[in-house]
Amino acid sequence: MGPLQSREFSPSRLAARLGILAVCLAASGAQAWAQAKNACLDCHATLDPPLQITAESFAQDIHTQKGLTCGSCHGGDPATDDMERAMGRAAGFRGKIERAQIPALCSHCHSDAAYMRQFNPTLRTDQYSQYLTSVHGKRLATGDSKVAVCTDCHSVHGIRPASDSLSSVHPLNVAKTCGRCHADPEHMKGYGIPIDQFASYSSSVHHEALVERGDLSAPTCTTCHGNHGAAPPGVASVENVCSTCHAFQAQLFDGSPHKVAFTAMGLPGCVTCHSNHAILHPTDAMVGTSAGAVCVRCHSQGDTGFHVAAQMHDQLNQLQSAIASSDEVLDTAESSGMEISQSQMEQAEARDALTHARVTLHGFQLAPMEKDIQAGKVVAAKTLSAGQKALAERDYRRKGLALSLVTILVVLIGLRLYLSQLEKSVGSTKTS
């Protein structure tokens, strides 16, 4: 039969179709049946917090999705509706897990490499051993249960993987999670450490990069402090932490006179000038001898450092203003309709040189920085002269215009005279 011809009713075909339908229904029913009966959830979903576990959060939990149940951690029997039997000692029910017990409980699975391989071979299995080296882990061992345990950061019944943007440990959310305790004055009472880290970090350029520019490689708390082995880097090692990204500056600093001086004084590299959490956009004003500069915190009038700082500030300003004045001329030329795109491209080189100089100054020696500044000045001078040439061309155009206006004026005068001559002699008016 051709495809366009209508087909006759066929009972065998109908039966086949109904059969397929039946199998599908049965399969989904079986699946629903196969999903382990969870009496715990059925009951606890109806309760109020803190005993409430909602079905949605439970369904989002990565453990649930991998097939684990309430009983995996809490013991007990989730299959039975009988409360006595479900939460009975016989079924191994442990009830609410004590805080001090939580890390050990989680590591029961998470430190077992062979076990974790079944679920995610790339997941690390050293979280617990790291945790034991952390400030949190060490304090927990001394009996302080106010410190963070696994569930404080990862949450407990709706745990999402760190790559999930809704997870409390996703890079975008880490600072907020840490801040829940570390920015809470009540919680942090008695520990003797500051509580302004979250506020400071939120004002920082790293926060801006992470949250506003969406650059997930930007550092958050755990990047510098570690996540499971969380501890502040010591004074001697802060520079190492920063240098993982800011390699150039660290290299230059190591070769600078400040390295020796800071080590001797027990001052941390990088943080001394840039602060640890409130790392703001560095400005040229930071370098120099004015009141707001970082140099004058140690250096004073008369010492070498003061002198160098003043010169460095001077140099930066010089290049900055050279670029600015060249930009001004180029802008004027452009708005007059002149073509200066080549110069604008070259100006980028001058700006590059300024950026470079701002890195080179971390060697705290004048000569290398001056080289960069000089290179920049050369480019700025070139673009300035190109801009001035463009303005000269504009003036040439205006002169050309003036010339043509003169010829027009001559024609006008000539016409006027010619007409008056014509009308005087010939008598151009005509009466009808």
Binding site: S336, G337, M338, E339, S341, R397, R398, L401, S404, L405, I408, L409, V411, L412, L415, R416, Y418, L419, L422, E423, S428, T429, K430, T431, S432
Partner: protein, 361 residues
């Protein structure tokens, strides 16, 4: 001079050149206290020729596609020798021409030159005015910058409000639902082919009719001259009036050059159809009075939308204005005074609403 006469004689032997231009040699132009207004028509024509020449020159480098139009204008402004001059002359010339066209039309109204037998001249002139506005509107979009893009969006939106045919007109103008590269291509076609063709026909008709009927004189003066023929004063078109017109045209060229050098037409930023409209978009100045009127009309008048009332109002006004000669048959009496009054009102209205439009946010 010897060369001129030799060429003239050569042409005359073959085409009867002297006989052909004889009527032109006899052509005269009335000379009276208000005859300075007569220059406006020729000035509009001259500026049109400037536009044609500069437009053809621009055509050699301009590219009418949405991803190249802006860059090609930038190229003309910056890379082509004297491109800045040609482009600014074209942009400024367009504005000057629209201004001259309006002034010419109003001078005809106030000098009552539309009366019998010149009704068709007036009609062809009004059609020419509409075509000139079409040139201005279509040409404005061609550099494809932000200002032009949104002005076109607003400008094509307005006829879309007309009931029944509005949507169709809007889609026809835009080449689609929105202003896109298709609109640019369409406007380019209008600007360099359709409208020039139309203008050629209308202009030929207009000039022919002017030749046929001669230059009109205001009614009172005409009556006076008919009563006392000795008072009539006229000057030869060739060479006297023409040389005077040439002076005016040279001044216009100087003005255009000065504007190009000291107030070059801006390039703007390339249009981005997906960016939101910037605050304060508005059409070109010669549409400003209509735009501002539509803005001040309340949202609803009785049961009709205010904007629709405005559009229909302007449409009716344009129609009545085009049919003006048929309201004033003989140039005397009440009808004439009404028309003078209407003319004064129109000029005042346009001036006030244009200024208002620019001063208002």
């Amino acid at each position: 001079m010897r060369l001129f006469s030799a060429v003239r004689d050569w042409l005359d032997e073959r085409f009867g050149w002297a006989e052909l231009i004889a009527p032109l040699r006899k052509k005269t132009v009335p000379h009276h206290s208000r005859s300075y207004w007569y220059y406006l028509g020729g000035m509009t024509l001259f500026l049109f020729f400037v536009q044609v020449v500069s437009g053809i020159l621009l055509l050699l480098y301009y590219r009418p596609s949405s991803d190249q139009a802006f860059e090609s204008v930038q190229y003309i402004m910056t890379q082509v020798r004297f491109g800045w001059l040609i482009r600014s002359i074209h942009s400024w010339g367009a504005n000057l021409m629209v201004f001259m066209a309006f002034s010419h039309m109003f001078s005809v109204v106030f000098l009552k030159a539309y009366r019998k037998p010149r009704e068709l001249t007036w009609l062809s002139g009004m059609l020419l005015l509409f075509v000139v506005l079409g040139f201005g509107f279509s040409g404005y979009l061609l550099p494809w910058n932000t200002r032009a893009f949104f002005a076109t969006q607003v400008g094509t939106d307005i006829p879309g409000q007309i009931p029944i045919v509005g949507k169709w007109i809007e889609t026809f103008l835009r080449g689609g639902e929105n202003v896109t590269g298709a609109t640019l291509g369409r406007f380019f076609g209008f600007h360099v082919a359709v409208l020039p063709g139309l203008v050629t026909l209308l202009l030929a008709l207009h000039l022919l009719l002017i030749q046929r009927f001669g230059i009109s004189v205001p009614p009172e003066l005409e009556r006076q001259w008919n009563a006392q023929p000795a008072l009539r004063r006229e000057i030869h078109f060739f060479p006297n009036f023409l040389l005077r017109e040439l002076m005016a045209w040279y001044v216009a060229l100087g003005v255009l050059g000065g504007l190009a050098a000291f107030a070059p037409w801006e390039l703007g930023t390339k249009a981005d159809p997906f960016a939101p409209a910037p605050a304060g978009i508005r059409p070109e100045w010669f549409f400003m009075f209509m735009f501002q009127s539509l803005k001040v009309i309340p949202a609803k008048i009785l049961f009709i939308s205010g904007e629709l009332v405005g559009i229909l109002g302007f449409g009716i006004a344009a129609l009545v204005w085009t049919l003006l000669p048929f309201f004033d048959r003989d140039g005397r009496g009440r009808a004439q005074r009404w028309i003078t009054g209407a003319g004064v009102f129109a000029v005042a209205y346009i001036l006030v609403m244009t200024v208002y439009g620019y001063m208002a946010k």
